[in-house]
Every structure is written in C-alpha cells, then in structure tokens.
Amino acid sequence: MKHGAWHQFGDRSQKLALEQLQHGAGVGVIISPRDLALDKAMEYAPKYKDAGGDVLYDPQFYVPGALLGKLGTYPTATHRKTVSELHKISDDDLSDLADKLRQISHDLGVAGIVAPAVVYEAGRPDIDGLNQRLFAAAESAGKSLRLPVYATVVLGRSITTSDHTTDSAVSSATALDADGWYFAFEFSVDRVPGSEPDVLRCCRTGLRLAATGKPVLHAYAGPLALLSAGFGATGVGIGHSHKVWQFTRERWEEGTAQGGGADAPARYFSNALWGTIIHPDETVQLPPALKAEVLTSSPFTSPWNRWQANKHFVHVICSKVDKLYKTATAREAVEAAIDVLSHAVALHTNIADNLHITLKDDTASYQAAWQDAMNKLLSNYSDDYDYLEML
C-alpha cells in the first residue's frame, strides 16, 4: 500500500481525483460503487494509473442491502442483501461473490483487494462470523490475482462510544489473516468529530491496527487525516465532499441523504486554522498579516467558487499528509500534528478573543480536543509507539 493520501470518492469525484493526481496530490484513488458506475470506473481507472495513482475498490457492504446510487451497476449487487439474509449466504454464493470480486478487481487493475464487510456492532458476534466469511471470499479473489487483501474494519457507533466494545471488536477483526486494514470509525453525526474521548479512541484503534505490522488505510478521514500518520496509518482516504469527511452509514441508507447546501458560501480550508473559514466574507475581516497566514495557497484558489473550494480542500490536506509521511516515525508525526493543532488553537483564540470575530460552522470547536487526544495517545500508549519502532 502506498504511503500518503488516497482520494476517497464521493459524488462526482472521478475528474477531481484525476486532476489532483496530475497536480502531484495523492498516491491513489478509492473507487466508490455508490458514486461511480462500473463502466465509468473502468474508463477512469487506467487514467489514474497513468497519472501515477494506484486504484482500490471499496465494495461498500456497510449497509449490505443498499442498492442506491450506482451500486446496482456492479456484478456484486446480486449479493447485496440485508445482514440477516447475508448470514444465510451459501458456500456457492460466497464462491460467486469471490469470482465477482476477482473480476471487478482484475478489470479495474486494483493494487489490493478491499474485503467486503458489514459494519461491526456491539454485542453482535454473528457479525464477526459474517465478516470472516466475506473476508474469505476476498482472500480467494486475492489469491487468484496475487494481490494483498485488506480487511475492512468499520466500527459502528454502538461500538465506538466505549473502550470495552472497541477492544472487543478490534480483537475480533484483527484475528483475520489480512495483509492490511481498511479502517473507518463511525463517530456521532457532527460534521467534524469534536469529542476528545472519541477521537482518542479512534486513534488508539488505528494505532492497534498499525501495531499488527500490516498497513492501515484510514478511510473516510477528512480533516482527521492530520492525525492518521501519527497513529501509524500508511494511507489516508480524503474526499472533497463533506459527506465523506467521516464515515456515516447514512450515505448507504435510502431516504436519509444529507442536504446539498446548494446556496451555502464556499468554505476555505486553512492549513493554519486546520479548519474552514468563509472566503471572502470572513477572511476580509482579518488583519492583512493574519489573513495571509490563514489563506493557505493552492493551485485551486482562483477563480474562487464552491467547486474550487472542494479541490482546494483536497489539495491542502494531501499536501499536509505528504509532509507528515515524510517524518521518520509515527511518534514524530503525532508531534508534528500537535504543533499544527496548537498553532491552530492559538490562532482561533486570537480571532475570537482579540479580534472579536465569530467564525461560522463551529469551525474552532474541535482543534483543542484533537490536541488533547493526541497528547494522551502519545503519553498513555507510549508502549505501542515503542513497539511500532521495534517492528
């Protein structure tokens, strides 16, 4: 698995990802069958590779019965069933699923196979068993194509709210004989996770996965990508759309589509604030020196509009992630992330307390919590960092 930022597809990502790769941002793409039809995926996959990017295909069995969006265009759609029906999947059907995964993976020229898996839930050992069987299908496809197989470890909200349930789920998931982990953590529905214990738990889970010595792709990371290298992730999935800034299963549930916010102003993602600011409505209020610091440049800031704002966001995060991956160790990456957050907190404090400017969207609400979480990760789980360095 390549180190660095992977373009996590949401709606209308295919061209944006290609453009970013051509600008040197990102190391690969993660194709979303919900958002891109198979024929289009096959059309674009060679282009990504020509632009130097690897391709992964996320089969998205999170809500396994879902058939919304473009999911029906993939042959694996015949196996999309509710969890209770999927439990009854026969060995023959599992073998058919393996064949279809192999065919899609071959056609897209993927660099590894992301195993199908439903979201892990608390008190559901049956899901552990189901995911083992689904993993076996991916393993069979991987063996025939001689590709690494990454187990999907997506922890649902029923798990992520407590250490005990997280411990148990991670123990089960890591019993799989995987070549790596495709990991996502379902937070509460905040736009950006802001609870220190939850962020710590997420990063601690990532650290445990990394301590297996196998690569970890932190999927649906969004701005949280700042922390991924610090918990030992190899790759991090970044999508332009707010809807993939974190994992929420609602994306795969009929009738729960999030609103588009078509009239919302363009948010400018600032490296210095590690958050968004409305440009120019809010940035115009800042003193020139601060404004210059806040307005992180990228090739996508002119002309300025909502679509450019998406491209800018991806580019800024990819650039930062690249820098973090150039640090020697996970421990150094945490320290670098803490520096970014500490500076962001100071800037936000300055803007709010000295300049009396209140930014919209609670954009200053999470940096301090993340900083605390990272400090705790480093001090409470020092053994894990030492162990990572011993591997």
């Binding site: 411990d167 445990r208 196998k214 030492d386 011993m390």
Partner: protein, 282 residues
C-alpha cells in the same frame, strides 16, 4: 489417571518395533520410545479405548500439514478394528532431550539462551498459525527440548484447526488447557475468542518464566479466584524487581505478549520471532 500400558504388553502388540523405554503417559495416551527396523527412534502413542476419535482426528489433522523443525513430526496414524480388537495408535518423531519443565528451574536464563530458544519456539508457533492451528495447551510439559537446546512443540490433543468445527464439548466455553498458562479469554471468553494470540499469551508466560525465573501468575498457594485475578486484573508481575531490571525491549515484548486484550498482543508468532532476533542477547 494416566493411561498405563505395561511395556511388555505394548511390545507384544507391536513386534515390529523394539521398545526402548516407557515415556510419561498422559490421561489418554501411553507413550513409548521405540526403534523401528531401520533403527529410527520414534515415539509410539497407544490411545486409550475411551479416547474421543474426533479429538484424535483433530490432533492428526493439526499435525499432518506441518513440517517444521520446532514442531513434532507425525510419522503414522493407524486405526483399525479387527476381531473386536481396536488398534489405535500414533507414531511421531522421537524428540531426544527433556521437557521444558526440567529447564525452568526457578533461575533466570541468560538472555542469549532466551533469545535463541524463544525465537525458535516462536518460529514453530508461526508454522502452526500458517496451518491455522491453535495449540490451546502450550506449557512446559508440551515443549520438548532437544540436546542441542532447540524446542519442539508436542501434544496436539487440545489443538483446534480454525477451518474445522470445534468439537469442544463445553459449547460456549473456552476454558480448555492448563489454567496456569491460560490467557484471559480462556477464563472469561467464548471459544470464538480462542485463536493464535491465545497461544501467544502462553508463550509470553513461558518467556517471562525463562527471563525472570518465576511464573508471572501461578503460585502454589493461590486459589483459582486469585489466579484468575492475577491473569485478568493485576499488573503486579510487571512491577517485580527482576522484571523492571530487564532491558526495555524485553520488557516491552513481554508486556505485549501478556496483554489482556488480544488486539494488544503481537499479531503473529512470526512477528515475535523477528523481534526476538532483532533484540538478540540484549
């Protein structure tokens, strides 16, 4: 009660072999050091008539696909029933030497010796992992030590092949094996929690014993409840002077192996072997 067969009776049943001596029997197996017509030293195990055929089949399945210098080699398994007479036996490679029990004398080993012995033992455990076999009863009695000090894992009577249904009678239980070497999930988990990292916990107990000269949890005076508490709740074994004085890398490895959560243990014995080789004799 061990299953005892007089050596003369055994010799009469197996005239093709010369019987060198009787080995320590287990509850269901009488074991002998024998020599075949080609002069090969072997271990012949006669199976007690009441022993579960399913359990024995599991032992055979566990062993037949493994070819590793640190895992005992299965030579032959025969089950026949003639004239209402059952012949039920296993022939394994005979491992000259003694049990690890004889080497764990209460004195710490040199770290050079620890490194070479436990790297080899981890390598044997990795062979089991690759064959999807969980031993479930890794303990000093089940590790033979050759004259050249190399370990050999023996006795797969409680092993589980992860691709085969578990025949454990306690339908939900995980408490199979030897409690002094139990991982926390063997005290309080279900059989679904028993996997390769369960063996790694027992490996961690053995490593601790070799490094420190003392078992981390078991004391003759401890009750069952105290043992459970020591394994599942206490960190006292990590505060013992002799443990604290170990080099940091060894302490870290032992702490990881003895982690209560499976997710916090090393993922594979192969990883452990690589780490021990890196640490070396530090």
């Amino acid at each position: 009660m061990p299953y005892i067969v007089p050596i003369g009776d055994a010799q009469a049943q197996f005239p093709d072999y010369s019987f060198v001596k009787a080995l320590t029997p287990s509850e269901h197996k009488a074991a002998f050091h024998v020599r075949d017509g080609d002069g090969r030293d072997l271990c012949l195990k006669l199976i007690a008539p009441n022993y579960s055929v399913d359990r024995l089949n599991r032992e055979i399945q566990a062993l037949q696909n493994i070819d590793h210098p640190n895992v005992v080699v299965l030579v032959e398994y025969t089950y026949s029933s003639k004239h209402q007479q059952q012949r039920h036996y296993i022939i394994e490679q005979f491992v000259e030497g003694d049990d690890l029990t004889a080497r764990l004398t209460g004195q710490p080993w040199s770290r050079t010796k620890v490194a070479s012995f436990f790297a080899a033992l981890a390598s044997g455990l990795e062979a089991l992992r690759r064959a999807k076999v969980v031993h479930r009863d890794l303990k000093p009695n089940n590790i033979r030590v050759r004259h050249d000090d190399a370990p050999v894992i023996i006795d797969f009577g409680l092993a589980r092949h992860l691709d085969l249904p578990d025949i454990t009678k306690t339908a939900e239980g995980a408490a199979i094996g030897t409690p002094a070497y139990f991982a926390p999930e063997q005290f309080g988990g279900t059989k679904h929690d028993i996997e390769h990292r369960t063996d790694l916990f027992a490996f961690g107990v053995l490593l601790y014993e070799a490094l420190i000269g003392q078992h981390p949890f078991f004391r003759p005076s401890r009750t069952w409840a105290e043992l459970v508490r020591a394994v599942c709740q206490s960190d006292a074994h990590f505060t013992a002077d002799s443990f604290v004085q170990l080099p940091k890398q060894w302490r870290l490895l032992v702490r990881k192996l003895l982690a209560r959560q499976r997710a916090d243990r090393p993922r594979t014995a192969g990883q452990v072997a690589a780490i021990i080789n890196k640490i070396g004799a530090v």
